[in-house]
Amino acid sequence: VPLSAMAAYLTHQQKVLRLYKKSLRHLESWCIQRDKYRYFACLLRDRFDKNKDVKDMVKATALLKAGEEEFWASQHPQPYIFPDSPGGTSYERYECYKHPEWCLDFWHPSEKAMYPDYFAKREQWKKLQRESWEREIKQLQDETPADGPRTEALPPARKEGHLPPMWWHHVTRPREQPM
């Protein structure tokens, strides 16, 4: 999967953008009505845009520091957190995602005997995954442009009898809710 590589430090652009998003979210927690929020959000965007073209990194870092301090002073004590985000009301409610699928291989035979249909088919699925892996990788290598992938979207299967790339990772992805 083409990952966006995370370095050990944040660039100045990343820090400014994170400050902008944080302050927008806290502004949304303060200004409940959407039209009022949009008004103050435009004002905030204008404040950020005024200093967009500062080329001197010392001044830019000083502005960022002042911005962070202003954010800290005026943050909302109970910011709006999406229900499934960390700290939200539905976060970690079900424990489905916490166990990867290869744990199933480590079950004791007596436990595996409780679900005979699934485990009978599981070996066939794993064999299928091993066989098609080479073809999937070859398809991805052929289709990726020379200077790196443009998007994170995966291509579909191109030929008859082939499986789409990374299908196993998609099929065994963590569930949000139990069956």
């Binding site: 927690s29 409940i32 709006y80 229900p83 916490k98």
Partner: protein, 607 residues
């Protein structure tokens, strides 16, 4: 026909019907439980429990049933006795009606949960424990019910045990209830030693009761009913699913503490100190909870603080020496509070898990029945004339204004009543009216009989319950019949002021002014800074003090300073002082020889 026999039989039949879904699956493997079976069982129990209540209303029959007696020691016996008086006969149908509606709602709400049968079994076990608590005449049996509801509360709050906050909240509930239990056990011990019985029947005394056991009872009620000081567990208990919040933490379990005080009321009659303590504690709780509810943004937390505030009001009523009025408030409160929780559950599920009122708005058009019932419940909560809450709340405020008591408690309660109006209006305005703030493409459909019939049934109850109960039951203490008009209108004027304030504030939020933080809103939003202070301060000091005692006092002082290391450091000090003499100069050594010879000569010369 012997009416008390019929009465007792039907009450016992109610309890037996409720325990059938627990017992039958144990007996045979083919009788499996389903949520529908449990719901219909509770419905049948409700219908059966209407019979004894009708008999009581018709002829005033009460009954006392006596089971097996546990001959613990020679002269202290614990009979398992059940008292079917006004309180238990009226509360049974109400609790069963509310539980039936909640269970029917839960068949829709928890439909996607893999362990739904276990959930329903837990709710049923809770209900049985609560009814044992209500009907028991013996403090031992009451304690069994008390602990039973505490345990089921723990299991149900941590239903989604994958969440760390849910587990913390469940532990909080258990620990705070435990602190209250200490008080209850203290009172039981006093009762056993002075009156040699745990029967509530025999707990009357004409002489003034000593204050200590009554303090224990008040502590027990404070722990179970979330009065100020032991209150943080109630908002935290909103981590449980909405049916749990509706059943336990609004209608039934949290009133167990107040119910205990109502049962043990004869002991309180002669002790004005205890009554004043109840009054002040109740007044502080109701104001504190109402203040905290003003700035909450989670719909369940607003309703939780509202429950806490109403429980404070019930405690105020107990402090006014009016147990029947407190019971009336418990009964009417059960209806509209459960309905508020069910409406909020319907809204939450329709918005796909969203609980923050900042992301709700304009739901009146999309969920008409739910929002109408939300409005009815809120109006009942505010004490709108002739809805359910009016009959109990208005009488409480009237009695408070006309009695020779603490003016300060009166002012706090009136302020809390206006705050009730403010936060309820805020909730209604932000949830139902205004523009839509929910994410687009949210499909919502409330046309499911599993949602609509419980909510409408409880709405009917919220409108008529106060009227019905007060028309059939005469008050045992005469309320004040005449009072000046300004006292009669206090409650409604205060509520109207609160509503006007809320409307003004909401208009203010729509103007283009940046909202600012101020100390009052900070106090309200951080729940009075109580949680971090109490949780961290107390535990850090206790554990740190214990650690200091163990390591500094015992290890360091006794074992080291008084023993080997102290001795060694003393020696070292003296040796260091002595080494200054080891200079290596011959003259110094010759000097020391001369000094020692002189001393020997002098000493021999003396003798």
């Amino acid at each position: 026909m012997d009416q008390s026999l019929v009465l007792s039989t039907f009450m016992l039949l109610t309890l037996a019907t409720l325990s059938t879904p627990i017992i039958f699956p144990l007996l045979s493997d083919s009788l499996k439980n389903t949520p529908a079976i449990i719901t219909s069982t509770v419905k049948t129990s409700f219908l059966i429990s209407l019979v004894p209540m009708t008999i009581f209303i018709h002829s005033g029959t009460e009954s006392l049933v006596f089971f097996w007696e546990w001959k613990y020691i020679m002269n202290f016996k614990i009979p398992i006795s059940l008292k079917m008086d006004f309180y238990s006969l009226t509360f049974f149908p109400i609790a069963l009606f509310v539980s039936w509606s909640i269970l029917q709602f839960a068949t829709w709400y928890m439909a996607s949960d893999p362990y739904i049968t276990k959930f329903f079994t837990y709710l049923l076990l809770f209900l049985i424990a609560m009814l044992i608590l209500i009907i028991s005449n013996n403090l031992f049996l009451l304690f069994v019910g008390w602990e039973g509801v505490g345990i089921m509360s723990f299991l149900l709050i941590s239903w989604w045990h994958g969440r760390a906050e849910a587990n913390t909240a469940a532990l909080q509930a258990v620990l705070y209830n435990r602190v209250g239990d200490v008080g209850l056990i203290l009172c039981m011990a006093w009762l056993a030693s002075t009156m040699n019985t745990w029967e509530i029947q025999q707990a009357t005394s004409t002489a003034p009761t000593p204050t200590l056991p009554l303090l224990g009872l008040i502590l027990a009620a404070a722990g179970k009913s979330a009065q100020f000081g032991l209150h943080p567990w109630l908002p935290a208990a909103m981590e449980g699913p909405t049916p749990v919040s509706a059943l336990l933490h609004s209608s039934t379990m949290v009133v167990a503490g107040i119910f205990l005080l109502i049962r043990m009321h004869p002991l309180f009659n002669n002790n004005p100190t205890a009554l004043t303590l109840c009054l002040c504690l109740g007044a502080i709780s109701t104001l504190f909870a109402a203040t905290c509810a003003l700035t909450q943004n989670d719909i369940k937390k607003i309703i939780a603080f509202s429950t806490s505030s109403q429980l404070g009001l019930m405690m105020v009523t107990i402090g006014l020496n009016l147990p029947q009025l407190a019971f009336l408030h418990i009964s009417t409160h059960a209806f509209f509070k459960a309905m508020l929780f069910l409406c909020s559950g319907s809204i939450i599920h329709s918005l796909n898990g969203e609980q923050d009122i900042r992301k709700m708005g304009g739901l009146q058009k999309m969920l008409p029945t739910t929002t109408s019932c939300l409005t009815i419940g809120s109006l009942a909560l505010m004490g709108t004339p002739f809805l359910a809450g009016f009959y109990s709340k208005d009488q409480i405020i009237e009695s408070l204004s006309t009695s020779y008591l603490n003016t300060w408690a009166l002012l706090l309660t009136l302020l809390a009543t206006s705050f009730t109006a403010v936060y309820t209006m805020r909730m209604i305005l932000l949830v139902q009216t205004g523009f839509v703030r929910i994410p687009p493409l949210t499909p919502m459909n409330e046309n499911n009989p599993a949602i609509l019939s419980p909510i409408t049934r409880l709405a009917l109850g919220s409108i008529t319950a106060g009227f019905l109960i007060t028309s059939y039951i005469l008050p045992s203490k005469t309320p004040t019949m005449t009072m000046p008009p300004y006292i009669k209108m206090t409650a409604i004027v205060v509520t109207l002021l609160g509503i006007a304030l809320a409307l003004e504030l909401s208009k203010l939020t729509q103007t283009l002014i940046r909202p600012k933080r101020n100390p009052f809103s900070d106090f309200s939003m951080s729940l009075g800074y109580f949680n971090p202070l109490a949780h961290r301060f107390a535990t850090a000091n206790l554990l740190g003090g214990g650690q200091k005692i163990a390591s500094h006092l015992v290890d360091f002082s006794w074992y080291k300073l008084m023993g080997p290391e102290g001795l060694a450091s003393l020696q070292l000090m003296m040796a260091k002082a002595a080494t200054t003499l080891h200079t290596g100069l011959i003259k110094a050594y010759l000097g020391s020889f001369a000094l020692s010879i002189l001393l020997i000569l002098l000493s021999t010369y003396q003798t």
